[in-house]
């Protein structure tokens, strides 16, 4: 069963420089109870995807068209008031930078309790109990004491645990983790990833791991959605994708950082596309090693090429036919 269906989603930013097409017709489905990797280079529209699903795209951004179904319900048809019952309660979000996503002027106890009391009919003390319980779930040591502290009094890893607890407070069915480890030390990164994996199993929620690290995807995810220039290039089971990848995914896989050069990302030659003036045809053609003239013509549609595997590329069959 699909917990989330995104169809032809277009989210644009109407900036002074022009219309930034952050998502230009993204389509993908999400199986309930699994972990999905949402991958792509910087600027490919990963964060905007999660913001669109929660309908918190910041100004001057706007969802222009498309469909978002959560458990079959049309999210885009909901009123602002109805949306509040989705945000945090059914769908949650963990941010890339735990430091900037916690309000510096309020104790973590007060920030987390506010979320509980605004959604559930609970007394303050009950809500606080619940917050402490959830912080324990996120393995924050001594939550009974720590709730009275301010964000700046915690280390990065601890702050991310607090943010994870914040996202889990209301038992959401769907959790977006937007590059939750990018801003953490390498040793802490592993701990946070393990925590997310454990929690996904314990709580049984659906998890979307947003990352540009194929290593994390291989480690954690069952399904993958590959974004490029606001378009979905490929979706499928992790094994299929590793085996017969889309040309862009193939380039991404080659860019996986090797263990001995931890931080250094080998990047794909060429630049990410200008989202104001997207390349014609296949948005990846200026950088694609397989590109032919026909790739500049019409935008290749996302097609199911085999069971559980969709591709937007006119040459994929040809390139993989021989195998």
């Amino acid at each position: 069963m699909h917990i989330l269906e995104v169809e032809n989603l277009k989210t644009y930013f109407f900036t002074e420089a022009g219309i930034v097409k952050a998502l230009d017709g993204a389509t993908f489905n999400l199986e309930k109870g699994t972990t999905l990797g949402l991958v792509g280079e910087s600027g490919s529209g990963k964060s905007v995807t999660s913001q669109s699903v929660l309908r918190i795209v910041p100004k001057p951004g706007k969802i222009v068209s498309g469909k978002i179904l959560f458990e079959g319900e049309d999210i885009l048809a909901k009123s602002e008031n109805e949306m509040r019952n989705y945000r945090g309660k059914k769908i949650s979000l963990i941010f890339q930078d735990p430091t900037s996503s916690l309000n510096p002027l309020f104790t973590i106890g007060s920030q987390l309790t506010e979320i509980v009391t605004q959604h559930e009919k609970m007394k303050k003390t009950e809500a606080l109990e619940h917050v402490i319980k959830t912080l324990k779930l996120a393995r924050l040591p001594d939550p009974e004491e720590e709730i009275y502290r301010y964000p700046h009094q915690f280390s990065g890893g601890m702050k991310q645990r607090i943010c994870i607890a914040r996202a889990l407070l209301l038992n959401p069915q769907l959790l977006f983790a937007d590059e939750p480890t990018t801003n953490l030390d390498v040793t802490i990164q592993a701990q946070i990833l393990t925590l997310l994996k454990d929690l996904q199993r314990e709580v049984g929620m659906t998890l979307v791991m947003i990352t540009h690290d194929m290593g994390i995807v291989a480690d954690m995810c069952k399904y993958v959605v590959v974004l490029y220039g606001g378009n979905v290039m490929e979706t499928g089971m992790i094994e299929t994708i590793f085996e017969k990848p889309h040309p862009y995914t193939e380039a991404l896989l080659k860019a996986v950082p090797r263990l001995d050069q931890t931080k250094e990302l080998v990047s794909i030659p060429g630049n990410i596309p200008n989202l104001i003036e997207l390349p014609s045809g296949c948005v990846f053609h200026p950088r694609c090693r397989y590109a032919v003239d026909a790739c500049k013509g019409n935008k290749p549609p996302l097609e199911e090429v085999e069971a559980d595997h969709s591709i937007a590329c006119i040459r994929w069959r040809e390139l993989n036919g021989g195998r």
């Binding site: 918190i56 945090g88 510096p104 914040r166 407070l169």
Partner: protein
């Protein structure tokens, strides 16, 4: 460090500052001229001997270091001497004028912030809307209009033409409030307060609106605001609790400075409205080189600003947990 220790240290640091400022002001004033010559200018009958007597009476014939030392010892015992005009104790003079100034300033600061906070938030939230442009243009107009201009226009329109409010003084007077046609001491005070307070408010409100709008816009872009929204927190809570506190914290400094500076009054506004406050008195006294009065008001303002600074820093540390007093 303990709070008491911190405050004590800050207070001790103020002493050399206060002494330094007093010395500089004393010297500047002394080089400005001779108050007795100015005071007796309108009196052709006065003789040089009489002038000399007056100088001697006020101690103006002593060497400057001696004069400063005399002033300082008096100052340290809380005595500012007597004014040259009217020969009144400066302490008493300042005390009665301070109240009028504080009243006027407090009213205008409070009104200014009461208007600026919602207007600034609204303009920021509705960024680039018609409301935002309206608020912003009015703000720019308010900032560019000089106080003496708005003051004179207000006096002409609301006082001379319409006759709604008195144009001079702080109370009493032959005026009763014509709008209500009643004579009541409190209404009378309010009637006198309206125009000068309005002029002062207009001068600061525009600036405050723009600062708050800029602050709110900056804060509303922050991740923690999006995170609060993503957690399903109500818009009202996000704006008035989470965003406002962050946007207003930097304004504390401004509020502290304006309250600190307030005791000095607004010389221009007070002068135009003949407001019996410290600002007007300072302008008068400076023109007459009335040393004791000028020194008294200068020292009062200095001490007040230094104290307001200290209180601002304490308030800052109280509001923002990241700031520690050290």
């Amino acid at each position: 460090m303990g709070l008491a220790k911190y405050v004590a240290r800050r207070l001790i640091y103020m002493i050399p500052l206060i002494l330094g400022i007093s010395l500089v002001s004393f010297l500047v004033m002394y080089s400005a001229g001779d108050p007795i010559t100015i005071a007796t200018m309108g009196n052709p009958m006065i003789t040089e001997t009489e002038k000399q007597f007056l100088r001697h009476y006020y101690g103006l014939d002593l060497p400057i270091p001696v004069q400063y030392f005399r002033w300082l010892t008096n100052f340290l015992t809380g005595n500012f001497g007597n004014s040259i005009y009217g020969n009144k104790p400066v302490n008493q003079l300042i005390a009665s004028l301070s109240w009028e100034t504080v009243k006027l300033q407090l009213v205008s600061i409070i009104i200014s912030f009461l208007i600026a906070i919602p207007a600034g938030i609204y303009a920021a939230v509705k960024q680039r809307s018609a409301t935002d442009y309206t608020v912003s243009s009015i703000s720019i107009m308010g900032i560019s209009l000089p106080v003496f201009f708005t003051a004179v226009v207000f006096i002409l329109v609301f006082s001379y033409d319409l006759g709604w409010f008195p144009s001079a003084g702080a109370h009493g007077a032959p005026t009763l409030w014509p709008v209500f046609g009643i004579r009541n001491p409190i209404l009378d005070e309010i009637a006198h307060l309206v125009l000068p307070a309005l002029v002062l408010t207009l001068a600061s409100v525009a600036y405050n609106v723009r600062l708050l709008r800029a602050g709110m816009l900056e804060v509303l872009r922050q991740d923690y605001i999006m995170a609060a929204k993503a957690s399903g927190i109500q818009e009202r809570t996000i704006l008035y609790k989470y965003a406002l506190k962050n946007a207003i914290t930097p304004l504390l400094t401004l509020l502290g400075l304006s309250i600190g500076g307030a005791i000095g009054g607004a010389p221009m506004t007070e002068t135009v409205f003949s407001w019996p406050g410290l600002g007007y008195q300072f302008v008068l006294a400076a023109g007459r080189l009335d040393f004791p009065v000028v020194m008294g008001i200068t020292m009062l303002i200095t001490i007040f600003i230094l104290l307001a600074n200290l209180i601002t820093d304490l308030a800052y540390a109280w509001v923002d947990p990241r700031v520690t007093i050290e």
